[in-house]
C-alpha cells in the first residue's frame, strides 16, 4: 500500500511538472502582460515606466528563464509574489482556498448524499413511477448548466422569496457566525450540487441495480434478513464502490464550476481569484492556482484509491 502511494506520488511529479510548463506557456502567450493590464487611460504610463515595471517583475527575460526562476522558487516552497499587489501567492491562496473548499466540499457532499439516496430509492423502485420521475428529473438535472441553475436559484430564493442572501460568504461586517455563513452557502452550493447530484443519482441507480442482481444479495435475502438490512448493509456498501470513481472525477469539474459559481455569488474563493488573475495577467497567481488545484486533484485521486481499498477489501495496491 505504502509503496503504491509512493509510486503514485513519484509518478505525479512529472505530471505536475508538465502541467506547470503548459500553463506557464499559456499564461505567457496571453496577449498583454501584467504591466499592460494595469494601465488605464486615466493614468497613461510612459514607455520608460512600463519597461521599468517589466524589469521589476522579470517580464523582460526569456520565457524559459522566467519559468526556471519560478520553478526554482516553487522548489523552495515559495509560490512567488503577485504581480498586481505584491502579496505572496501562497498567502493569497491560503486565505481563499478554505472558502472554495468549503463551497466545493459542501456541494460535493450534498450532491453525493442527495444523489446517492435518490439513486438508491430509484433503483429499489425500478420501473415504478418514482423511478421514472427521478430518472427524468436526473436527466433534466444534467441538462441545466450550473451557471443557469445559479441564476434561477438567486431569482427564486433570494429575490422573490427573500429567504436567502444573494451573494457573499457571510454578512459583511458582522462577526463570523457559522449559521450566517451557512445561509450564504446554501445557494451557491446548491447551484454546484444539483447538476452533480443528478450525475451521482444516475451512477448510484446503475450501481444499485447492478448490486441488486448480484448473488450475494440473493444470499442475504435467503438468510431471511430484513429488507432494510439487505439494502443498507449488503447493497449500499457495494453500490458505493463505483461511486468513488465518480467522486474523484467530479473534483476537476467542480473547480471549473466553482469559477462560474463564485463569480455569480461573489464567493471569495480561488475561482474568483483565478478569473481576476487572468484578466490581470498575474501569472504567479495563475500558476499558483493551477499548481494548487492540480495538487488537490492528484491528492483527491490518491484519496479515491485509498477510499477504494477501504470500501472494498478485495482491492489491495502493491
Amino acid at each position: 500500500m505504502l509503496s503504491y502511494l509512493l509510486r503514485k506520488l513519484l509518478l505525479s511529479i512529472p505530471v505536475l511538472f508538465g502541467v506547470t510548463v503548459i500553463v506557464f506557456a499559456i499564461a505567457h502567450a496571453m496577449p498583454g502582460d501584467a504591466v499592460l493590464a494595469m494601465i488605464t487611460a486615466e493614468a497613461p504610463s510612459s514607455e520608460e515606466l512600463i519597461a521599468m515595471r517589466r524589469g521589476e517583475l522579470g517580464l523582460d527575460q526569456q520565457v524559459y528563464v522566467q519559468y526556471l526562476n519560478w520553478i526554482g522558487q516553487v522548489l523552495h516552497g515559495n509560490l512567488g509574489r503577485s504581480f498586481v499587489n505584491g502579496r505572496g501567492v501562497g498567502d493569497i491562496v491560503g486565505e481563499r482556498l478554505p472558502m472554495t473548499l468549503e463551497l466545493m466540499g459542501v456541494a460535493l457532499l450534498a450532491a453525493f448524499v442527495i444523489g446517492t439516496t435518490l439513486g438508491v430509492i430509484s433503483a429499489l423502485r425500478q420501473y415504478k413511477l418514482t423511478d421514472y420521475s427521478l430518472t427524468l428529473a436526473g436527466f433534466v438535472g444534467v441538462s441545466i448548466p450550473d451557471f443557469f441553475m445559479g441564476l434561477l436559484l438567486v431569482y427564486v430564493f433570494a429575490l422573490e422569496l427573500r429567504w436567502l442572501p444573494s451573494s457573499g460568504i457571510s454578512t459583511a461586517g458582522e462577526n463570523f457566525s457559522l449559521l450566517d455563513n451557512l445561509r450564504h452557502l446554501v445557494l451557491p452550493a446548491a447551484a454546484l450540487a444539483l447538476f452533480r447530484a443528478a450525475i451521482f443519482m444516475r451512477y448510484a441507480r446503475a450501481g444499485m441495480l447492478e448490486v441488486l442482481n448480484q448473488s450475494y444479495m440473493r444470499t442475504a435475502k435467503a438468510k431471511g434478513l430484513r429488507p432494510g438490512t439487505i439494502t443498507l448493509r449488503h447493497g449500499l456498501r457495494n453500490a458505493l464502490i463505483p461511486l468513488v470513481t465518480v467522486f474523484g472525477l467530479a473534483l476537476p469539474t467542480l473547480f471549473g464550476g466553482s469559477v462560474v459559481v463564485e463569480t455569480i455569488f461573489q464567493w471569495p474563493g480561488i475561482g474568483l481569484m483565478f478569473i481576476d488573475s487572468v484578466v490581470n495577467r498575474d501569472s504567479p497567481v495563475i500558476m499558483g492556482y493551477v499548481l494548487i488545484t492540480a495538487i488537490i486533484v492528484m491528492l483527491a485521486n490518491l484519496a479515491t484509491d485509498l477510499a477504494y481499498s477501504v470500501l472494498d477489501p478485495r482491492v489491495s495496491y502493491d
Binding site: 509510486r7 435467503a222 448493509r233
Partner: protein, 690 residues
C-alpha cells in the same frame, strides 16, 4: 395435478416419512404477459423430512427458478407465480406475505448457491455474514452468535476459524468459500437445505469434498435436502430421489436406483446415454439431437417433442401430465407405456469407430517448457517473482492420436496449450512440431505453424467476435493466410459449414443468434478452415449442456477420423477425456505428474494425485457410490507463484514423506512392454494409498 398428486403422495409415503415440503402445480413466468418466458410449468413434488431430493436439468430447465420461487427469491416483476402452492409444514410459502416468509427463510429453509465467490458479500467479513442470520432469527447477542458461528465453521472444516471470522471472502479459496456458504446456511439449523448447484464452479476434487461434507452434515443435522444439479452422475451417489426437469416441467421423478436402472422418459434416457461412463469405454455417445428448448412458447405441448426420437402428433398438441409408473416413479410422457415395452437403449451400443492407429512418430514434442508471468511490485515496479504457470513440462503427441492434458483449474494446462500455439511466449524449453523448433517463433515461422496447428476455444460466447457473421468468422483464417480467391474461400466456408453440421443459412447470422452448441461448431469450423494437421482443443465442451456436449464430442471424433487430425485435448472432465483420448497427461501446479495411455492411467493410476482425481469423478451409477473408494484430498491447490519445494503435490499427498518436500521427483517409466510408456513423476509411484 390431480390424479398424479396421489402418485407422488404415495411415493413419498413409500419412503415412510411425512412431507416437510409439498409443491403443487407451481408455474412461474417472466416478463410481461403475452411476451412471457415460461420458466416453470405446473411443477409438483414433495420432500419428506430428512430426505434428499435431486432436481436435475440442463440450463433453462427451470430447476433453479423453482427453488428460488419457494424461497421468494425471484424478483417480481419481472417474475410472476401464475399458479401453485408450496406447503411448508402446512403453510403456503407462496401465499404468505414476504415479512412472514422472511422468518422461514434462513431459519427453516436455507440455501447454498452455485458460485461461492459471488454469493458472499465481498465487502463484509465472513464473521458478520455468518452471524447476521442468527441475530436476525434468534435474536442472539453478538458474542453468542459468534460462538455458534465458530462452532459451525469448525463443523464445516475451516481451520483457524476464530481468526478467519475477521477475514473477507476474497481471502479464501473457492472450496473454503463453499464451506463457509454451507456454514452460513446451516447456522440456524434449518429443516430443509436447498443446494443450488453448489459444486458446479468447483474443481472435481473440491467437489468431492463438498459433497461429502453436505452428506455428513445432513446425517448430523437430520435435515432434508433439495440438490439442484445439471449432473446426473454427481447426484447418483448420494440422493434418495431424483426429479428430472426439462423446459420448466418435471418429466420424470423416481427413487435414484430406479431412475438409473429403469428410466422411462426419452429425455432421461437420452441424458443417460450422452454421459460417458468410466467403465464402458468404447460405446459411442448417443447425443440428444437438436438444441435446448424454446421457453417463450406457452407450454401447451411436450417441450421435448422437437428433440425426441419417438414424437407423434399428440406430443405436439398436448402437454403430457405426470403419470405414475411404479412406486414413487412418475413420468410425463404420452408414450411411456409403449416405450417401456421397447428396448430401453438404442438397439445396441454402437462401437466407437477406432481411429487409424496412432503412429509412433511424434508430431509434436514439447520439452522443458516453462511459461512464467512476472509479478511486479514496489515503487519501481521491479519484478519480485513470477507465477509459474507452466514450470517444466515435457510431452509428445503422436501423429493421429489424441493426447489429453488434464488437471484442475490453475494447473497450467491451458497455458501449455496456448504456448504450443505460440499465443504465450515460453520462457524456456523447446516445441518441436513436425521436426522444427518453434519455441519463441515469430513472424513467418509462426504464421506457417498456424497453418498446420489450430485451436478450438473453451467459451463459445467469448471466442467468436460478436460483430462478425458466421461466414466471416469461419473464413478468417483463410483470409489471414491469404489462401485462395474470394470465390474459393466462399466455397470452402460452405464446405466447412456442412462438415460441422451447420445449415448453410447460418452463414450470414451473428454469433448471438446461435445456440451454444452451434457456436462451438462454428469455432471448430474456423479451426479447420486452413486444413490443419493438429488441433488444440481447450476445454471445448465444458461450457455446454450435457446433452450438447455429446454432440460436440462426437463431432470432434468424426472429424479426427475423416480428416486424419491429431488432437491435443485440454480438459478437466475426466469421464469425457477417458472417452475420447488415446493418451493422457495429468498436470498439477505447472508440471505433468503422470503420462500414459488412457487405459493405463485410468486403469492403474500410479501417481497419488491421479488416483485422487479419478476417485473423485462422479459415476452415473447409484450403486457404485457405496463400493467405490474415494480419496478425498485435503487442502487446496497452492499459489503457483510460490509452489512448494520438491514435489509440488507433497503438502496434499497421502503418501508424502520427507524426501518429497526436498527433492523434485524424476520422471520414471512404468510402462509394461508393448503398452507404451507410462511416465510418472513421484517418489512413491504406485505405492498403495493408506
Amino acid at each position: 395435478m390431480g390424479a398424479d398428486m396421489l402418485a407422488i403422495d404415495r411415493a413419498a409415503r413409500a419412503i415412510g416419512q411425512q412431507a416437510v415440503l409439498s409443491v403443487q402445480g407451481l408455474s412461474v413466468e417472466f416478463g410481461p404477459s403475452g411476451n412471457s418466458v415460461y420458466a416453470v410449468n405446473d411443477v409438483s413434488f414433495e420432500l419428506a423430512e430428512g430426505e434428499s431430493l435431486a432436481i436435475v436439468g440442463e440450463s433453462g430447465s427451470g430447476k433453479s427458478v423453482t427453488v428460488q420461487t419457494l424461497m421468494g427469491l425471484i424478483r417480481k416483476p419481472p417474475g410472476r407465480v401464475t399458479t401453485g402452492r408450496a406447503l411448508f409444514r402446512g403453510r403456503d410459502l407462496l401465499a404468505m406475505p414476504d415479512s412472514e416468509l422472511r422468518r422461514i427463510r434462513g431459519r427453516d429453509i436455507a440455501m447454498i448457491f452455485q458460485d461461492p465467490m459471488s454469493s458472499l458479500n465481498p465487502v463484509l467479513t465472513i464473521g458478520l455474514q455468518l452471524t447476521e442470520a442468527l441475530r436476525e432469527h434468534q435474536g442472539l447477542p453478538v458474542k453468542e452468535a459468534e460462538r455458534q458461528a465458530l462452532d459451525m465453521l469448525d463443523l464445516v472444516g475451516i481451520a483457524n476459524a476464530a481468526q478467519r471470522m475477521q477475514a473477507f471472502p476474497h481471502q479464501f479459496s473457492g472450496g473454503q468459500l463453499q464451506r463457509i456458504g454451507i456454514a452460513m446456511a446451516l447456522v440456524c439449523k434449518p429443516s430443509i437445505l436447498i443446494a443450488d448447484e453448489p459444486t458446479t464452479a468447483l474443481d472435481v476434487t473440491i467437489q468431492a469434498q463438498i459433497v461429502e461434507l453436505v452428506v455428513r452434515l445432513q446425517k448430523q443435522l437430520g435435515m432434508a435436502i433439495i440438490w439442484i444439479s445439471h449432473d446426473l452422475s454427481l447426484v447418483a451417489g448420494f440422493v434418495d430421489r431424483v426429479a428430472v426437469m426439462y423446459a420448466g416441467s418435471i418429466v420424470e421423478q423416481a427413487p435414484v436406483e430406479r431412475l438409473f436402472a429403469a428410466p422411462v422418459h426419452p429425455y432421461t434416457i437420452g441424458l443417460l446415454n450422452s454421459i460417458p461412463s468410466l467403465n464402458a469405454a468404447n460405446t459411442r455417445l448417443v447425443p440428444i439431437k437438436g438444441a435446448p428448448p424454446n421457453v417463450t412458447l406457452p407450454p401447451t405441448f411436450c417441450a421435448f417433442a422437437p428433440r425426441c426420437e419417438h414424437t407423434v402428433a399428440r406430443c405436439r398438441e398436448a402437454k403430457p401430465v405426470l403419470e405414475t409408473v411404479g412406486a414413487g416413479h412418475a413420468t410425463a410422457c404420452w408414450r411411456w407405456r409403449e416405450l417401456a415395452q421397447a428396448p430401453r437403449m438404442p438397439a445396441a451400443p454402437i462401437e466407437r469407430v477406432a481411429a487409424a492407429p496412432a503412429s509412433q512418430a511424434p508430431l509434436l514434442v514439447v520439452s522443458g517448457l516453462k511459461v512464467h508471468f512476472p509479478i511486479r511490485r514496489g515503487v519501481l515496479r521491479r519484478q519480485v517473482g513470477a507465477v509459474r504457470a507452466v514450470d517444466g513440462v515435457s510431452f509428445e503427441v503422436m501423429r493421429g492420436e489424441t493426447l489429453a492434458l488434464v488437471g484442475e483449474s490453475g494447473c497450467g494446462k491451458s497455458t501449455t496449450g496456448r504456448a504450443v500455439l505460440g499465443l504465450e511466449r515460453p520462457d524456456e524449453g523447446s516445441i518441436l512440431f513436425d521436426g522444427k523448433d518453434y519455441a519463441g517463433a515469430t513472424g513467418d515461422a509462426l504464421k506457417q505453424r498456424r497453418r498446420d496447428m489450430q485451436m478450438v476455444f473453451q467459451n463459445p460466447f467469448g471466442s467468436l467476435n460478436p460483430r462478425m457473421t458466421v461466414g466471416r468468422i469461419i473464413g478468417e483464417g483463410l483470409r489471414a493466410q491469404k489462401i485462395g480467391t474470394r470465390a474459393s474461400r466462399d466455397a470452402r466456408v460452405s464446405e466447412l459449414l456442412a462438415l460441422v453440421g451447420l445449415r448453410e443459412a447460418l452463414r450470414n447470422r451473428y454469433p448471438f443468434e446461435l445456440s451454444g452448441g452451434q457456436r462451438q461448431r462454428v469455432g471448430i469450423a474456423r479451426a479447420l478452415a486452413a486444413n490443419p494437421k493438429f488441433i488444440i482443443a481447450d476445454e471445448p465442451i465444458s461450457a455446454l449442456d450435457v446433452s450438447i456436449q455429446a454432440q460436440i464430442v462426437n463431432l470432434l471424433d468424426d472429424l479426427k477420423t475423416r480428416l486424419g487430425l491429431t488432437y491435443l485435448f485440454v480438459g478437466h472432465d475426466l469421464s469425457m477425456i477417458r472417452y475420447l483420448s488415446d493418451r493422457v497427461a495429468v498436470m498439477y501446479l505447472g508440471r505433468i505428474v503422470e503420462t500414459g495411455s488412457t487405459n493405463a492411467v485410468f486403469g492403474a493410476p500410479l501417481h497419488p494425485y491421479t488416483r485422487a482425481l479419478l476417485s473423485a469423478i462422479p459415476v452415473p451409477d447409484p450403486k457404485a457410490g457405496g463400493t467405490r473408494r474415494r480419496i478425498v484430498l485435503g487442502g487446496t491447490v497452492p499459489d503457483p507463484s510460490r509452489p512448494p519445494p520438491g514435489c509440488h503435490f507433497h503438502p496434499r499427498c497421502p503418501l508424502a514423506t520427507d524426501i518429497c518436500a526436498r527433492v523434485e521427483p524424476q520422471v520414471r517409466d512404468f510402462g509394461a512392454n508393448g503398452a507404451g510408456r507410462h511416465l510418472v513423476a513421484c517418489h512413491h509411484a504406485g505405492e498403495a494409498t493408506p
